[in-house]
Symmetry: C2
Amino acid sequence: MSSPRLGASLPNPAATDDGNEMRFCSTCAFSAACLDQGYDKAALGDLHCLVEHVGPYHEGDVIFREGDPFTAIAAVRAGTVKTYVIDNHGDEHVLGFFLPGEVIGLNAIHPARYPCNAVAMDTVALCRFSFPQMALLATRMPGLQHQLFRLLSEDIGKAALVAGDYSADERVSAFLLTVSRRLAARGLSGRRFHLSMTRSDIGNYLRLAPETVSRVLRRLQNDGILAVERRELEILDLDLLTALAASVLRE
Amino acid sequence: MSSPRLGASLPNPAATDDGNEMRFCSTCAFSAACLDQGYDKAALGDLHCLVEHVGPYHEGDVIFREGDPFTAIAAVRAGTVKTYVIDNHGDEHVLGFFLPGEVIGLNAIHPARYPCNAVAMDTVALCRFSFPQMALLATRMPGLQHQLFRLLSEDIGKAALVAGDYSADERVSAFLLTVSRRLAARGLSGRRFHLSMTRSDIGNYLRLAPETVSRVLRRLQNDGILAVERRELEILDLDLLTALAASVLRE
DNA sequence: CGCGATTTTGATACTCATCAACGGAAGTGG
DNA sequence: CCACTTCCGTTGATGAGTATCAAAATCGCG
């Protein structure tokens, strides 16, 4: 049994997990952010009322499709989500990968439709937030409004990794390093992790041929920076990797 | 006499233009958007109270600098603004060009500091909006909040032009076409216009060598698509230009 | 096992960056 | 008015980096 598209609101809250986990869901970006700032319990209650835990989605499941009417954004609780578009030649362009704690759907607010497709790369669980309800609530909770502004502002300019005219080595290094850091930021291991995407997906995202990704990984392994075995990856020399990625990440 | 940085709020409203123009400033994105949606006059008054017309800035004037504390966003009323960063090798990376009607500073909300530099490419006039005041007002004006969300959401994914692995011809064509359309959207001529930036700036933005930009322009001229004379540009065959840009712009 | 997808490896081609040199426009100072 | 300078743009020759094509190796899975 697969979960419904994100666009479809769940008919009743019975489909959510038990309320206890929901109340203390540590991967829910908004709840956490608001808790951090010590907002009043009533407002938090309101916020939790518009959250739905959805999933699990399984590998290949569609979370939303380009053109679907925009109804909700979602924080990834577990798993990896890939967003992409199909160009007029029928070729896929990967726009991004979203790891636990990250928010999908923010770029859909303006056209009021999702401007890309989102699929699960593995087993994915989401926190779904009805956007109209959240925007309404934000008018009563300046802190929530600010968190939304923050999330949106953060995402502007996130394309630096794929935008610059960097070498293949720099791009792949920067990609691996950001994945590592994003995982670590959610309490997962940033030193040793599993890549849920293929070489083709990585290459597509970084605008490199999959063969090039493969060759770069081999180089990094030969240089003792990484240990790579299929999709299992271990960072052996973080300093060297960081140095390689430095120009991309502006550090 | 040059205008102050954007970060510095003007001490008194006497520095703004006459109130009459301000009230009907057609290039002010927010005022226009709110007027479109028929909000009440009182709220509009509030909105106009937090607008300051600043400028003129002259070519090379700094509008804000990377690291400046974030206090305001601004809509370009006239002229062209370039945003850029300096990497750790001392090289400039152009992030974008902002034409009349477009909003600068949106990516500064999160870190609460401007993450890049902004300079005037020619004579520039701005509408400055104090962001704290505007965010506060947005809690009372859902329409304004929505416009802000819309602006922010729009900017996410605007990097497609520089992100894709497109050919130099496609990139330059897409760049010229978007400039043309953005000018036309503000009532300016999209068929014949002046490029306020150098070949180096364009190349830097598109991640191409300035020589390559020059060569592409010559090719497009030889093919009868453009007439180029220094920075004066005329589009002769819009269909061909659009076709060249199609894959970049996903049309 | 045997099929398909993924990954790797090798050989070649092509786009674009780089280097170098020149031409031209605008501005400066005598 | 005329050198002189400087920045910008153009043009040509060369080379580096990566895509592409082709094929073998490996893994997952029915």
